[in-house]
Amino acid sequence: MAEIKVDCIGETCPVPLVETRKALRKAEEGDIVEVTGTHPSSKKEIPLAVKAMGLELLDIEEGTDGVWKIRIRR
């Protein structure tokens, strides 16, 4: 099982969502995709996309500096 990191710090709509989707497409079943970013809406919307695609949301972490980290299992 691979762990794929996606860095979207400083990126805005729709890049974090799109880059997450790209990584999930490339990932194999069981792989973990970890996305970090700062765009506030994407923190809410990436979990919506994960749910819509029937994947597993592992956790959402929020740092003090506005950086969030979302982990998804394909």
């Binding site: 805005t12 709509c13 729709p14 969502l17 799109v18 989707r21 790209k22």
Partner: protein, 139 residues
């Protein structure tokens, strides 16, 4: 109904093309299928070197308004139209070119971005996409 978005890109304005591409990419990112049907002024943006050529739909002011908006977009790190086109393709989105517009405006296939276009077609293909789409938009 399929979980699908079928969007008509009629406008060639820069800001409206942003809307269409962001919506298309958003649909794909949410796990939906998506197609963009480029017609009339929208088709001009599929010409080689034409992606970034559109004016601003309001307050273009002979390009000054567009220049200001582009500068602001760069500061906000907004993706370029070219990147959004490439992302849309990479995520499996379909780009359809209206062949009637090509006839009317004398646009030949070799004038267009064949690397982006999935099909050269007419209203039948769009309606076939749209008839079972949950999201249909005209931009």
């Amino acid at each position: 109904m399929a979980n699908k978005a079928a969007i008509i890109v009629h406008s060639g304005d820069m800001d409206k093309l942003y809307s269409a591409l962001i919506l298309g990419n958003g649909a794909l990112a949410m796990g939906m299928e998506a197609s963009l049907f480029f017609t009339f002024w929208g088709l001009q943006r599929l010409k080689r070197g034409g992606v970034e050529k559109g004016p601003l739909s309001k307050m273009n002011m002979l390009g000054f308004g567009k220049w200001m908006v582009k500068r602001k977009m760069k500061q906000a790190k907004v993706a370029s139209l070219e990147k959004l086109m490439q992302d849309f393709k990479e995520l499996g989105g379909k780009i359809l070119a209206c062949d009637m517009t090509m006839d009317i405006m004398g646009v030949k296939r070799e004038d267009l971005r064949d690397d982006l276009i999935s099909d050269y077609c007419g209203v039948g293909t769009y309606m076939d996409e749209a008839k079972d789409s949950t999201v249909t938009l005209f931009i």
